[in-house]
């Protein structure tokens, strides 16, 4: 054990040495020169990344693919291998060895002078780190779901509003034309007045039982990975698989809410409100450390009479994706360019001049960069992301408590149910706290 921790200490220290080797940022952020300045390289958005695992580096690559739009200058992760990998990606892109590395987001936010930050972390860290980054007036590209609890979400939304920054959620389906087309047809009444919505999200998979406690690998700062979550021994489960454990995520339901529930809201005009009544049931694994529901099935009623049925795909007639049912027909949309309708002619309809035009973006990462430059709102702004995940979080509360939840979407409160209300926030392990806005 001591050997392990001293090795970890070593990795930590060397990361710090790398960080300390460069005292001053040599890339001046665009914001310092005024947005819209045309001189290279400062015309590029100067950006850093917090959380550089699979999704974090995938986002970095998507940003780097944009022609000279961004320049990464710094990366931060609690896993030294992730960090080294991210630095390599940045250094290769920049053709130098200057990328700064941090193993603590607090130091990163304190020292880095950036235009923007790309953040991809396990959900249980979102509340604290999103809010802290926004409080630093950084523009944020943040992964969905934007929060683990409603309380986290409210705080993040409040911080974005107060600091007036550009926020883009990683709900990239919005930037794909068939999702846009489907949502635009739905919201413009091509299937008549929308009555019901069906959202199919992935079915949960097999558990792994309870693996034995293991030594924490030298590269991983387990204490910092856990952060505000309750302390548990390391069992070889951290990266990726955190999403099957309720301390860090809500499983497939919350993982995918930021995609198909988001699209469903978009096409039904529900993206700035929430349901008024939620009830349903989940199927939970009997045994093992993966305890997120493997099946979920709940109904959300909205004040305008619309009902949204959210369930794992095996329970839905159209499987995965979002389906709007109006009094004249239905439209279904899913990944893989899948779009269909009760009458195929509906899909050929064009949207006229005087109809509702939904925000159009052809590249989710470019849209963020453009908005950071222009100061316009991005296609997946923070409140919209909060409304999408809150549907899933309220569904989770209904399934946990077994109760029919009454929700006030304006006050963002559960009505008349103190027990369920306690699940709106997850108290943090000391000394971690949600930053004040």
């Amino acid at each position: 054990m001591t050997d392990k921790s001293s090795r970890r200490e070593f990795v930590k220290q060397s990361a710090k040495v790398v960080a300390g080797a460069i005292i001053l940022p040599n890339i001046i952020p665009a914001s310092a020169l005024g947005k819209g300045g045309s001189t290279a390289p400062s015309d590029r958005i100067v950006i850093g990344a917090i959380g550089t695992g699979s999704q974090g580096t995938s986002n970095m690559r998507d940003f780097l693919e944009l022609k000279k739009a961004v320049q990464f200058v710094s990366v931060c992760d609690v896993d030294a291998l992730h960090l080294a990998n991210a630095k390599k990606i940045v250094d290769e892109a920049n053709k130098n060895t200057d990328c700064r590395t941090y193993d603590d987001y607090r130091e990163f936010l304190e020292k880095e002078k950036l235009d923007a930050v790309s953040i991809a972390l396990p959900d249980h860290w979102h509340g604290i780190i999103y809010t802290a980054a926004v409080n630093k007036k950084l523009n944020v590209y943040g992964e969905k779901p934007i929060c683990r609890t409603i309380e986290d979400g409210k705080t993040i939304v409040g911080a974005v509003k107060k600091n007036n920054i550009i926020w883009q959620t990683g709900s990239w389906q919005r930037s794909q034309s068939h999702f846009h087309h489907a949502a635009e047809l739905a919201i413009n009444g091509r299937i008549g007045k929308i009555k019901n919505i069906e959202v199919g999200l992935p079915d949960g998979g097999k558990g792994i039982g309870t693996p034995p406690v293991k030594d924490v690998p030298a590269e991983l700062n387990w204490e910092m990975w856990l952060g505000p979550a309750l302390k548990v021994p390391y069992r070889g489960v951290a990266h990726w698989d955190w999403r099957w454990i309720l301390d860090y995520s809500g499983g497939q339901l919350t993982d995918w809410a930021g995609h198909h529930i988001d699209i469903a809201n978009w096409g039904a005009g529900l993206e700035h409100t929430g349901p008024v009544e939620i009830s349903g049931k989940g199927v939970y694994p009997l045994d093992g450390i993966f305890n997120a529901p493997v099946e979920y099935d709940f109904l959300c009623k909205y004040a305008n009479g619309i009902e949204m049925h959210v369930a794992n795909a095996a329970r839905q007639p159209h499987g995965m994706g979002a389906t709007w049912y109006g009094d004249l027909g239905w439209i279904h949309v899913d990944r893989g360019n899948r779009i269909s309708a009760s009458d195929p002619k509906i899909l050929e309809e064009e949207i006229g001049e005087n109809e509702i035009k939904l925000y159009k973006s052809d590249n989710h990462w470019q849209n963020f960069v453009d908005c950071v430059r222009s100061g316009k709102q991005a296609i997946a702004p923070v409140e919209v992301a909060y409304r999408a995940i809150s549907v899933a979080l309220l569904g989770e509360i209904a399934m946990t408590t077994g109760e029919t939840i009454k929700w006030d979407p304006d006050k963002e409160e559960i009505i008349g149910n103190p027990r369920a209300s306690k699940l709106l926030s997850g108290p943090y392990r000391q000394p971690w706290q949600l930053p004040t806005v």
Binding site: T210, L286, G319, K422
Partner: protein, 403 residues
């Protein structure tokens, strides 16, 4: 004193249940005695599984041995509400066949278990009752193959033999008619314990609903790459027949019979066959896509048992007792009395001297949201315990939030 009191209660309960079994349960006849499978193992287990519900009172009837005098097998079906066939053997006498047919036509319930769908290939009415069968030289003359392909029900008249199975394996059972009484409330997908995955069944398939299927993956050996029927509901005149293709008996029942999914669908299917409805609740340990759930003693874990095991909780052993508690909490929704009762039992456990730190941590998590003022002082008392300080603070913060 306390122990004696408990024994009295147990004795009372036993009397109650045995009363249910012998007097008020649906009289059930399990027929066995010839089978290419181990009927000596399976038939008493089938009896236990059915009687466990308190709904059935069953007896096992053993036919003459293979080649024996079948005229001697002549049960009075009219005494029963349900006949369970764990039988794959010689033809019965014409008289017995006629009596069984009469029983079903007049509304008797039937359960066809596993290899019973191999039996009586030449008996037309029997094959209409079972819907689909296999082996025994069954082929296109006996009816179509029935299966799911790309989530569509296929009735396939192609020529070919009926009945096969690949290598034994665990497999996922998929609900196909979620609102059928037998399937209502069950997961859409669940793991079944290692079993023969009956495939290429064919038969008249008249008045038959395929309730659940399993994908016969060829990767596992001998698969048809079709979603094969596993659970079927058939009506024959006034009678209802529940057909389960699962449950191959190994020693002690083995994983196919111990599977909670097999047990519970059999219990539900049997009730449906008798009444057309299912009154049984879906138990907390019904398996899901997360993995196989075995009941080595064929019984459901009770809350009392779960609470007694939770005190010595060791996550490395099993989390199922916690899942049982959680399920009871959510099932008690809207009943403050029941919830408070649960809370009191949890607090008793929380403050118990024998209770492990691991168990306390779990209880604190649950109490943090479902607890009331009743829990506060007990939780406060644990904040000073360094082993569970984080969880106690967490619970206390939540318990006192919104005040």
């Amino acid at each position: 004193m306390k122990k004696q009191y408990l024994l009295l209660i147990i004795a009372g309960l036993l009397t109650f249940f045995s009363a249910c079994n012998t007097e008020s349960g649906y009289k059930t006849l399990i027929i066995t005695g010839q089978n290419n499978h181990d009927w000596k193992t399976s038939s008493p287990i089938l009896k236990q599984i059915l009687d466990e519900t308190g709904l059935f009172s069953s007896e096992v009837m053993i036919t003459p041995d293979k080649g024996g005098d079948m005229t001697a097998f002549n049960p009075d079906f009219s005494k029963y509400k349900l006949v369970v066939l764990d039988y794959n053997g010689d033809s019965w006498s014409d008289k017995t066949n006629a009596a069984f047919l009469d029983f079903v036509k007049n509304g008797g319930g039937v359960v066809i278990y596993h290899a019973a769908d191999n039996s009586f290939p030449g008996w037309k009415e029997y094959n209409e009752m079972i819907g689909l069968g296999g082996w025994g030289d069954r082929n296109e003359k006996d009816g179509p193959y029935v299966y799911y392909k790309n989530d569509q029900l296929v009735v396939d008249t192609a020529a070919g033999p009926g009945g096969t199975h690949g290598k034994r394996r665990e497999f996922i059972v998929r609900t196909r008619i979620a609102d059928h009484p037998v399937m209502k409330g069950l997961p859409a997908r669940w793991f079944h314990g290692t079993d023969e995955l009956y495939s290429l069944l064919r038969g008249p398939a008249k008045n038959m609903q395929v309730l659940a299927t399993a994908f016969a993956d060829s990767a596992a050996g001998g698969g048809t790459m079709r979603d094969e029927p596993m659970l079927m509901a058939i009506t024959y005149e006034k009678g209802r027949i529940f057909h389960t293709a699962m449950g191959h008996a190994d020693e002690g029942g083995g994983p196919a019979m111990q599977c909670a999914g097999f047990i519970v669908t059999l219990q539900r299917g049997a009730e449906w066959a008798v009444t057309g409805n299912v009154t049984q609740e879906v138990p907390f340990d019904f398996p899901s896509a997360a993995g196989v759930v075995l009941r080595p003693d064929f019984k459901e874990v009770t809350l009392a048992e779960a609470l007694s095991k939770l005190g010595g909780y060791d996550i490395a052993k099993s989390t199922k007792y916690l899942t049982c508690l959680q399920s009871n909490i959510s099932n008690a929704a809207g009943d403050p009395g029941k919830l408070l009762d649960l809370e009191k039992q949890m607090v008793t456990l929380l403050t118990g001297k024998e209770t492990t730190a691991e168990a306390k941590k779990l209880l604190l998590r649950e109490l943090s949201w479902m607890g009331t003022d009743y829990s506060v002082s007990a939780v406060k008392g644990l904040v000073s315990d360094p082993e569970i300080k984080d969880e106690a603070e967490y619970a206390l913060a939540r318990l006192q939030s919104g005040k």
